[in-house]
Amino acid sequence: MKKIALAALALTLAVPGVSLAAKVKIGFINTITGAEAPIGENLTNGVTMALEDLKKKGIDVELIKEDDTGKPEKSLSAFEKLATRDNVAGVVGPYTSACANAVASQADRYKVPQVIPAAAKEEITRKGYKYVFRLNAPADVYSSVLMDAIMTVDKPKTIAYVYANTDFGISTVKTAKEYARKLGIREVADEKYLKGAPDFRSTLTKIKTLKPDLVFMVSYEVDAITLMRQSREIRLTPKAFLGAGAGFTTAQFLAQKMISNLVFSSTQWTEDVNWPGARNFYNRYKAKFGKEPSYHAACAYEAMIIMAETAAKNGGNREKTRAGLKSGQWNGIMGEVKFSDYAGYTNQNNHPMLVQQVQNGRYETVYPAKFATKNPIYPFKW
């Protein structure tokens, strides 16, 4: 009996990839300081949980963390360091669209596989890079899924856009406009704003005079709160407020009961969706970090699991890891994941986005129907 066990142990040790002692070096570029740091923290925490779970599966990850402070040039130098000096098997990150886009251009040059967890800018996976893989849905889905949800209850005629003057904001609205045109919704206002501005009152007043059916907003973090507070101040009352991404999906936004009620938002992930382990991830995260995870945490978790498992299986070989990512298939807290080529995208996971609405102080998934927990409430009222 002892002999068999020993033989089995020897065998596992001899076969690379299945080895229990496999230690795989993964780089993780994230925004740890700077204005995007609060969301960056979600990614960090997601990755921390991923490392714990990987350890349970016998995959020991040597994680090399790099902080890009949200600046593309820092992201680039971090990536070069990981690729050349640290010799990592693969890289997870960076977080923001601008950084991820900059780094993606270098992944093919250094032949380092990269899994982008949560950056939405479409171009990132549209340039045919072989080493760049994206887990989350790109920016066009943020807007189309929201409009699809509204189309199930009404035929709106006009729309106003208010969005942050960032890569994410601009690319999301660009595709939103194309989609709205297809649906026959007329644009009445297009307002870009500088991230972090304290006063949107005159912009919102201008929109109020145009009486749009829908107000479509793209904001990071707390700008969403400022925008909604000032909308309430001036009583801007469209039939629906649509929030694409980040700022409208945070626990902080939810906590602002006076202004968050009935706002629709699109998200990559919710805790009540029926993807394997989603609820469990939420509960564990909350117990461990004392706050609720945003979708970024789930994205980063899954991205790290996928990258580390694939790299470990291929003994840290970059080329084999790339091939493994390309051919692999996963089903975890982000639902089914497969990196495929479609509609001009390369190595893009065709991730189904969700629409949630704040109802009685809770995010409820209201669209698509197969994932929904509640019906949407429409039209909006203060």
Binding site: A35, A37, K192, L194, V222, E233
Partner: protein
């Protein structure tokens, strides 16, 4: 017309808070000829103070200025005594480095202590407004504007009418002459930095109910304060007040009539125009 009036009101009200930030910077510059690049960070400290007074002790942000003003005064005075006083005669770039360094230390210590999470102060009036003939006047902005007016008036009176105020102004006009007249200029500098810091802290307190708080919030306001001060004329309190309101209104009008991403272009175009015509700023007197 509604749009015009609405933008004008919002602009003036937000301009009041800008003015307060600018006044703090201009007093410090006037008396010491030091450009305080830590100004926004001092404001950030005031914001955190307001936040904790509200969440821990339930003191309303607008009432808490009564606590914030003296505390921030002491904070500023200590900064001046320990650091700034040592470099008053130094090269300008050394002064800039020192204030930038102090600012970095402040924002990073805050990040260590309270993480980089955004703190949001929610009061019952955070998103409410008064309605006046079809216009809405933001309640928190209106109250903060009133407080700004009171503080500015009091400060102006202090500087114009009291002996200490005159001594501060004398130091600002000519440091050496003031010293020869028996004014303790080091003490005046401490006083001036204290006042500057308490103005910045107050601005932070006043903006807290409608904005949000995080360790890096300062840098944007440092830049704004700088523009306001230069526009109004370095060292001039009336100039900074005027500069603040002008910038507030221009931003608001720019957003309403051009577009929100062009509003800063409008601000800087006007800024450059003023400097072209009057290089010392609106109320500034040219100095060599």
């Amino acid at each position: 017309m509604t749009l015009f009036l609405q933008s004008l009101i919002s602009g003036i009200l937000i301009g009041g808070v800008y003015a307060l930030i600018g006044i703090g910077l201009t007093i410090i510059f006037g008396v010491m000829r030091v450009i305080n690049f830590a100004h926004g960070d001092i404001m950030m400290v005031g914001m955190y103070m307001t936040y904790f007074l509200f969440t821990l002790f339930g003191i309303d942000p607008f009432v808490s200025v009564l606590v914030t003003i003296p505390l921030m005064f002491v904070f500023g005075a200590i900064l001046q005594k320990l650091f700034i006083n040592r470099i008053l005669g130094a090269l300008p770039q050394n002064q800039i480095l020192l204030t930038i360094g102090l600012g970095l230390i402040m924002s990073n210590s805050m990040m260590l202590a309270f993480t980089s999470d955004y703190k949001i102060l929610t009061t019952s009036y955070s998103s409410s407004s008064y309605r006046l003939a079809g216009l809405s006047v933001s309640k928190p902005l209106a109250i903060s504007f009133l407080i700004t007016v009171v503080i500015t008036a009091a400060l102006y009176r202090f500087l114009m009418k009291t002996d200490t105020g005159q001594a501060i102004r004398a130091t600002a006009q000519d440091r050496e002459a003031a010293q020869l007249m028996g004014i303790n200029v080091k003490w005046m500098s401490i006083l001036a930095f204290g006042i500057g810091a308490s103005m910045a802290g107050t601005a932070g307190a006043l903006i807290s109910p409608t904005y949000y708080i995080f360790p890096q919030v300062g840098s944007a306001f440092t830049l704004k304060a700088f523009v306001i001060t230069v526009l109004g004329g370095m060292g001039s309190i009336v100039g900074a007040t005027l500069g603040g309101v002008i910038i507030g209104v221009v931003e608001s009008m720019g957003a309403a009539y051009i577009s929100s991403d062009w509003k800063d272009v409008v601000v800087f175009a006007i800024f450059l125009l003023v400097l072209l015509v009057k290089p010392s700023g609106l109320m500034g007197t040219s100095r060599t």
